[in-house]
Amino acid sequence: MKTLAVVVTTPPYSHLTITALNYVEAALQAEVEVIGVFFYQDGVMHANQNISIASDEYQAIQHWQRLHQNYQLPLHICITAAEKRGIVCDALDNEKVNQAFTVSGLGELVELTTKASRLVQF
């Protein structure tokens, strides 16, 4: 079975995250096993609960949430990158982290990379 892992390094207001979303959704619809999406660098901002994008613009965060809910797609954020950007990843007080996202470390990226037959970065 071919497996796919995706790395997103661009913020939720970037056009590249839309490309990533379309790519991942097409893969899921084609029944490719997408083992996870890893958000690194500005990509972690997808998990920031305080981000609000004008309602007439593309709601990337909502679409990632939808893929997570409909396909149980694992969404990981890098904790170091997240904390650097003000996303508090404290287990007791993680109201700043969108619950669709799992707080992970770069070790998760190692695991995804070793398991995936293909790794694609956006």
């Binding site: 660098q41 770069l106 070790g107 190692v110 970065q121």
Partner: protein, 132 residues
């Protein structure tokens, strides 16, 4: 499938770990540091990782630089630890050096200077590629 396609696929199949392409200058952004963090984690997990330097990324290898003059933590010093992480495959694009009139005085040992075609062939040996 053409012969080249077949060749690419076979390389991907017996893929040789992760390649990280460094394409940005060291001190104008955090890209170099972010790439370094990934390289060191792969090294810690004993996963094979190779580093490629291309475009402005070649500046990350040039010696006698001091990030502290810009109040930046000089992550380039950590390159000296690659040996401890078993990161041995380090490649730099000759054309990128030539375009910037840089000579091959690097601040770490064991850097392989490759012509563009060899650079792409070395890259093609890897199962996965990340670019920073």
């Amino acid at each position: 499938m053409t012969m080249i396609d077949t060749q690419v696929c076979s390389n991907v199949e017996d893929g040789n770990g992760l390649a990280i392409i460094n394409s940005k200058a060291p001190f104008s952004s955090a890209y170099g540091k972010d790439a370094l963090d990934i390289a060191l984690i792969f090294g810690s997990f004993e996963q094979k990782v190779s580093l490629f330097f291309q475009g402005d990324g070649v500046y990350q290898l040039i010696d006698n630089q001091d990030g502290s003059l810009l109040s930046i933590k000089d992550y380039l010093k950590t390159f000296a630890a690659f040996e401890f992480y078993d990161i041995e495959d380090i490649y730099v694009c000759h054309q990128s050096l030539a375009n910037r009139e840089l000579d091959e005085s690097f601040h770490i040992e064991g850097v392989n200077v490759l012509q563009s075609i060899e650079f792409s062939e070395a890259l093609n040996q890897h199962a996965h590629i990340l670019r920073f």
